[in-house]
């Protein structure tokens, strides 16, 4: 399971995120210099070309949920070093301090335009949003809660793949989360998966591609293997746009590409169709 190369983080101008507000961030797509504060107000989308920068989980949740409706679950779940991997917990701790998050996913109950959902949002800043036991457990619990409370579930994915430091335990999170989705689906409930930049590896090969509806942010990278691995394996030139959201829509994986500004209203519309109680407005 390829760990996503750090290349994309630099592409996103991630390094500049630590600068004080008021400074410029250069758009990697159109090279326009953007005010940090303006970028934050615009949900981290370039006002000039529409480039979608990495959005943190808290920023995303704030933009999606009705004000004051989000109630975080399982915030206290913390990683342990089950395999005794050298330096693993130091690494986790460093990312906790850097991001202010406990782990690479935030889960909870929330309302989107008045409709209650279970929401899980991965945050690529946290160790490349790799999936270890905590990520798998939090997502599984969110799905199980949704099944119990008969609610739809929405997962925003972004991930470098499985978390190597947890070895086979991280691989098994793919099975665990997919199993929870099997039961949720059997109960006749809806699941919307939203793919954001980049969604790769074990996350793509489990819950991210199991949505009843699969949405994607524009131009986000979606794949199982990283492009470098594909190139090295096949010794072939990659087709133009390979593994972008647009390419994956063309190849039948993605239902719809949705701009960040339209995400909330699109989700609200779709949830309406999945609730069996939709009435004409």
């Amino acid at each position: 399971m390829g760990f996503f190369k750090k290349r994309s983080v630099d592409d996103l101008g991630e390094k500049k995120r630590d600068m004080p507000e008021g400074l410029w961030t250069k758009c990697p797509s159109c090279a326009e210099s953007l005010y940090e504060s303006a970028l934050a107000r615009n949900q981290r989308v370039c006002a000039n070309c529409g480039h979608h920068f990495t959005q943190s989980a808290p920023e995303r949740i704030a933009a999606l949920c009705d004000e004051g409706s989000f109630e975080e679950l399982d915030a206290k779940l913390d990683s342990v070093n089950a395999l005794g991997f050298k330096g693993y917990l130091d690494k986790v701790k460093a990312y906790q301090e850097k991001t202010g998050l406990g782990e690479a996913v935030v889960t909870g109950r929330g309302n989107i335009e008045g409709q209650p959902v279970l929401l899980a949002v991965m945050d690529f800043r946290f160790l490349g949003a790799s999936m270890g036991s905590v990520v798998g457990e939090k997502i599984t619990r969110a799905i199980e809660t949704a099944t119990k409370e008969r609610k739809p579930v929405i997962v925003f994915s972004a991930s470098g793949g499985a978390r190597m430091h947890e070895g086979i335990l991280s691989l098994m999170q793919m099975a665990k989360t997919s199993g929870a989705l099997a039961r949720h689906s059997e109960a006749g409930l809806g699941y919307i998966s939203v793919l954001t930049h980049p969604t790769t590896g074990g996350v793509t090969a489990s819950y991210a591609t199991l949505g009843d509806v699969i949405l994607a942010e524009p131009k986000c990278m979606i794949g199982f293997a990283g492009p470098r691995v594909v190139k090295e394996t096949t010794h072939a030139d990659l087709p133009p746009g390979f593994q972008t959201a647009e390419f994956m829509m063309e190849h039948g994986l993605v239902d719809l590409i949705v701009q960040r500004k339209d995400m909330r209203s699109t989700l609200a519309k779709l949830i309406g169709y999945m609730s069996k109680t939709k009435v004409a407005a």
Partner: protein
Amino acid sequence: MKQVLEFEKPVLKLRDEIDELKRKQASKPSPAIAIEISKLEARLIELQKDINSNLNPWQRVQIARHTQRPFMLDYVKLICSEFVELHGDRHIGDDNAMPAGFAMWGDKRVLVVGHQKGRDTKENLLRNFGSAHPEGYRKAMRLMRLADKFQIPIVTLIDTPGAFPGIGAEERNIAEAIAYNLREMMLLKTPIIAVVIGEGGSGGALGIGIADRVLLMENAYYSVISPEGCAAILWKHREHAPEAASALKLSAQDLKQLGIIDGIVPEPLGGAHHDHLEAATNLKQAVLDALAELESLPHDQLLDQRYQKFRKFGEFTEG
């Protein structure tokens, strides 16, 4: 050409010596040679036992990848009195890296599906080194559904370095093909036994690995990433694969201790490549034992146990 592992060289040298003496004995028998032969044979067993009990994880990975190791279809041939191979995913094509079909496993009707590797260039071209495309995973699911329909137990034999990371595989959504199997295998109302017979490479292995019993052959491995891949990321060089193999806890013993697998299928001394028939006999019995435990379970109990089995995986603290 026979593949020779570095740490097995003393064994092969001793074997050559014994063979040489046996030839001498055949042409010109003498009691002294007979004594020498039995002495060397005893030493050979001691040597193999010694090597076997000191194998490190990286050496086991090498045994798991040995080209003379029995592959999926070797086991099917040795174990099953009948095998009706069924082809194709009904959409794109057939994947020869993932053969599947009905078979008689002892006196049991089963569906067998697994990864098949090749021993030479020609075979590997056909089998794609045991790396399946989306078509393989979708064929597997089609046939597992067929097994479910007729209440036939499923045996999956896992032996892959990983799902194929190619352009076509990505274009045809290999990740979705695997994910779909993970979800749907949870719901199949028939017993499933998964055995990692060689390489349990990541998502490509798990894609046919959701089961009521998960077993590993003694020298097989099961891992989220190859030791080389892990070494390249963490140590910045593939040369550190031996350290990575230890750190990943990918051997049968480690996985049993972690509670990930239900049992270990013993291999002949030195590894399955030394004696295909013995390895097959052990595998046959292990699967029959597992089936016997599962056959009488009501469906809802079977599915509930399967769910709980995977549900419990993961280590964390809470508050």
